[in-house]
């Protein structure tokens, strides 16, 4: 049942030129930044550092674009009503829709990440051959970690966007909700954390866990903790990986639950 819904979503993703365009833009930006920032020639970790902040901004935008009308379309066409007469539950519909779109989103991210990784592999630094060299703490595995975390992050934002698409009643309200969502995600939650921290609502000992409240901070913390700090060495802990993963999972599952509730309402 879910597979059927996934297939339908995938077809939609493939047939929507906007998604191909988004993939192309994301690829152009990622490759451009990695190339002109010199990260490609420097290695995997510098490239990760170069891409992290742009991705924090771009990935949510792309993920929201992939998801904010996913269920809304079915609702507006009356297909949700039709589907209610079929033996498929709202939960299955949400999960199927989400997974279908997520597969498309993963592909949209895989294209730029793969190209960048191949570019790093292909273009080494110009090292002076008389000296002994080693790769330091740099490793393709670190970049793969970054890629996996980016996909995880994108999948979380997509879930929130799918929830928006299930709640919204019209295209315009969905767009408005999506914009509000982006502002909250990109700025609002981090600002709230900053406020909470400075106002003393979030204590010194709990900040590292509280970071997981904001998907953006959770993602940033995970990337810094599992890739960048491996090369940069010791210091105050950057993030709590467990809390961050839990944070992202809660956002994902919670959003999908909201979407399912909105459909069955």
């Amino acid at each position: 049942m879910i597979a059927t819904v996934i297939r339908r979503e995938l077809k939609t993703v493939i047939r929507t030129p906007t998604f191909a365009l988004l993939t192309a833009i994301l690829t152009a930006v990622a490759v451009g930044i990695a190339w002109f920032g010199g990260g490609v020639r420097a290695g995997y970790v510098p490239t990760t550092v170069d891409l992290l902040t742009p991705f924090e901004l771009l990935v949510p935008v792309v993920a929201v674009a992939f998801g904010y009308r996913a269920i809304l379309g079915d609702r507006r066409r009356g297909e949700l009503d039709v589907l209610a007469t079929y033996p498929v539950t709202g939960r299955e519909l949400v999960v199927g829709t989400y997974l279908g779109r997520a597969i498309g989103l993963v592909a949209a991210l895989a294209v730029p990440l793969t190209i960048v990784m191949v570019a790093i592999v292909a273009s080494g630094d110009d090292l002076i051959p008389v000296y002994a060299t080693h790769r330091g703490a740099d490793s393709p595995i670190l970049f793969v970690r970054f890629a996996v975390l980016t996909v995880f992050f994108a999948a979380t934002i997509l879930a929130v966007a799918v929830a928006v698409s299930a709640i919204a009643s019209g295209t315009r309200s969905a767009l408005a909700l999506a914009v509000v969502l982006l502002i909250v995600l990109l700025v609002g939650l981090d600002l709230a954390l900053v406020y909470g921290f400075t106002a003393g609502l979030v204590g010194d000992s709990t900040l590292i866990h509280s970071l997981a409240i904001s998907p953006l901070s959770a993602y940033r913390g995970l990337v810094l903790e599992t890739t960048v700090s491996v090369a940069a060495g010791a210091g105050p802990r950057i993030a709590s990986p467990v809390a961050s993963v839990v944070g992202l999972c809660v956002w994902t599952i919670g959003s999908l639950a909201v979407a399912a509730w909105a459909i069955e309402r």
Binding site: A3, V29, I33, F36, G37, G38, G39, R41, A42, G43, V45, P46, T48, V49, D50, L52, T53, P54, D125, D126, L127, I128, V130, Y131, A132, T133, H134, R135, G136, A137, D138, S139, I141, L142, V144, R145, V148, T226, V228, V230, A231, A232, G233, A234
Partner: protein, 650 residues
């Protein structure tokens, strides 16, 4: 395929992918170990080439090889203590990352004794051992040429035995890391400049007393020839040379003062060296010397040959450079001294197709107010003043048209100041000379470089020089150099930083093709408070990891750097190697482009993991206004050095 089977496969595939993805995070990247490499293939620090040559064959200095997380080359340290101190420097981690693996020499694997210099001598090459597993003897009599050194052993018992024999205490790695070691670094070199000047003043004052000797002979009155007068004059007296031209070649082998009148010329007739000085405390003043032979390289009557074998007091391969010295110092000269400790050569005018003045093993000799005019085609000339083996003072002299205006070879501690050096190939050519002070010289029109430091010496101070119209203004080399308050203008390259662990501060680098060309492999230099104005490219970096030219919150002034400012520093990093930012001072509109969010984000983050990013220079605290306005006034560029909050002057 049935739906059930398909689901089964899907589930299996999903599980495999999940495990792989989680596995990516489970792999422990940090614990990867590194195999030792041949130390000769490391980027090494802590020993100059000269010191290396002088070591006896069986000496094996304690060494460390370090694999950093963000540095592609393996770094080799002579002396574990040098690594410890190096690691303590601010910005070290930012540039290199942290050490993934440290290997140190293992003296348990060999028999070790100390030479009379305290250098560890062994019967074989010590092997390598992980630093964390070693036991260290700290504070023993063991030394490297730079001073006391830490000796590592894999076996605790060997360390105890060594400490019993040679003193010191046995520590483990963590304790060694928190020890403090005295290493002469560039900051000390800078602090020592005034001492060096004072020492040089004392030397010159002492030399001045040679001018107060009573006159014993006047050539033409008490003697027929100058040589006769020299031979007849009692020690510690003055031989006066009245006006006139004397066609003679002289040998001064007694401590006398040879004083020319207002217009006295010695003419060597174009064959060989004109004046040979072989005694200490000789003074030559007020002469014009012409007719120098045109041999620029060693021949049968080469100066070095006149003095037999090098003295054997010092141990080691003292004579490794004999052939070299025969070749280069063996050419003809207007005045050649050998063993003339404390000699003074003053107010001498020289015209020479070969060397001007050669100072060979003449400790404390002073050259002052001398003018040497070399061959108009420098390829056929030689050195204006050539100093070998001992510290000398060269000051207030005018040296033109030579191959090298001043050439030092193992003249550790020499002082070269207040000279005018023009139209030579090199202004000052430094070979195997450490602890050199090159100050307040005016250099113009050097074909190659104003100052070129070769062979990796240590602790050279380059201060207050002005270099113009050279191919390269200054090329400091080696380690722990102090380069400050120089004005480098209108050169193809202002400053080429081959030297590492060095300080480059308060220089004005204006109107050059490339302001700084950063070529060192180890990013250990401190580059602050310099003013970059009107260079085509303010800075470029060739190879090596990112350079961070900020120290203790102080950066440099970059003409054209943009950003908000509190009037002192600009709040946004400046990267003079960035393809857009490097043109900020040249191209209208770049200021807007450079502050585009996409580019801004990038430059802001480069500091997070910069080590592996090669060929870049970043200043995190660029200065709003020029740091050295007074020096800048001496260039044509002070008008162009607008503050960051001013508009481009039209």
């Amino acid at each position: 395929m049935s739906a059930r089977l398909r689901w089964g496969w899907t589930t299996v595939g999903f599980a495999v992918v999940s495990v792989a993805l989680i596995g990516v995070f489970a792999i422990d990247i940090e614990s990867s170990t590194h195999e030792q490499v041949d130390f000769d293939n490391t980027v090494s620090v802590g020993l100059s080439l000269e010191e290396q040559y002088e070591l006896e064959d069986d000496v094996a200095l304690p060494r460390a090889q370090v694999f950093y997380s963000q540095y592609d080359y393996v770094v080799g340290y002579y002396g574990v203590e040098r690594f410890v101190e190096h690691r303590r420097q601010p910005g070290h981690d930012q540039r290199f990352g942290y050490p993934l693996t440290v290997l140190v020499s293992d003296y348990s694997s060999v028999d070790v004794a100390l030479t009379s210099d305290g250098h560890p001598a062994t019967d074989a090459d010590p092997g390598w051992i992980d630093a964390e597993d070693a036991h260290y003897v700290v504070g023993s009599q063991a030394t490297t040429p730079s001073g006391g050194t830490v000796v590592p052993f894999s076996e605790r018992a060997d360390a105890d035995t060594f400490a019993d024999d040679h003193g010191g205490t046995v520590l483990d790695w963590e304790e060694v890391l928190s020890e403090r070691f005295d290493i002469d670094d560039a900051a000390l070199v800078g602090e020592r400049v005034s001492d060096d000047h004072r020492d040089a003043d004392e030397r010159t004052e002492e030399a001045d007393t040679l001018l107060d000797r009573p006159v014993s002979i006047v050539v033409g009155e008490n003697a027929d020839t100058v040589q006769e007068a020299i031979d007849d004059a009692p020690a510690e007296t003055t031989v006066v040379v009245p006006n006139g031209t004397y066609a003679e070649r002289l040998e001064v082998d007694r401590p006398i003062t040879l004083a020319g009148a207002t217009d006295a010329t010695i003419d060597g007739g174009g064959d060989g060296t004109v004046v040979n000085v072989t005694a200490s405390d000789v003074a030559i003043t007020g002469l014009e010397i012409t007719g120098v032979g045109n041999e620029t390289t060693g021949t049968d009557d080469a100066v070095a040959h006149d003095h037999g074998a090098p003295d054997d007091e010092d141990e080691g391969d003292e004579d490794w450079d004999e052939e070299f010295v025969d070749h280069y110092a063996g050419g003809n000269a207007a005045i050649a001294t050998s063993g003339a400790d404390g000699a003074l050569i003053e107010n001498v005018e020289v015209q020479t197709p070969a060397n001007g003045i050669v100072l060979y093993r003449s400790d404390g000799a002073v050259v002052r107010n001398v003018s040497v005019e070399g061959h108009e085609i420098w390829q056929r000339g030689a050195a204006g003043v050539f100093a070998l083996y001992d510290p000398v003072v060269i000051e207030n002299s005018t040296l033109t048209d030579g191959r090298d205006a001043v050439y030092t070879h193992r003249a550790n501690g020499a002082v070269i100041r207040n000279n005018e050096l023009s139209d030579n190939r090199l202004g000052v050519h430094v070979m195997h000379t450490s602890d050199l002070l090159i100050a307040d010289n005016q250099m113009d029109g050097q074909d190659n470089a104003g100052v070129y430091v070769m062979t990796g010496p240590e602790r050279i101070a380059l201060i207050g020089n002005e270099v113009r119209n050279a191919s390269v203004g200054l090329t400091p080399g080696g380690t722990d150099s102090y380069v400050a308050e120089n004005v480098l203008e209108a050169n193809d390259v202002g400053l080429r930083t081959d030297a590492t662990s060095s300080i480059y501060e308060r220089n004005v680098i204006a109107g050059n093709g490339n302001g700084i060309e950063s070529r060192e492999l180890l990013p250990t230099n401190r580059v602050t408070e310099n003013d970059f104005v009107g260079n085509r490219d303010h800075a470029m970096a060739i190879g090596g990891p990112i350079r961070i030219w900020t120290h203790d919150g102080v950066g440099n002034y970059w003409q054209g750097a943009v950003g908000l400012s509190d009037g002192e520093t600009i709040d946004r990093p400046h990267s003079p190697t960035d393809p857009v930012e490097e043109r900020l001072h040249m191209t209208d509109g770049t200021a807007t482009l450079a502050q585009a969010p996409g580019l801004d984000v990038r430059s802001g983050l480069e500091g997070v993991a910069p080590g592996m990013r090669s060929g870049h220079v970043v200043d995190f605290e660029p200065s709003c206004e020029p740091r050295n306005p007074e020096l800048l006034e001496r260039t044509d560029w002070s008008e162009q050095a607008w503050a960051c909050d001013e508009r481009y002057p039209t």
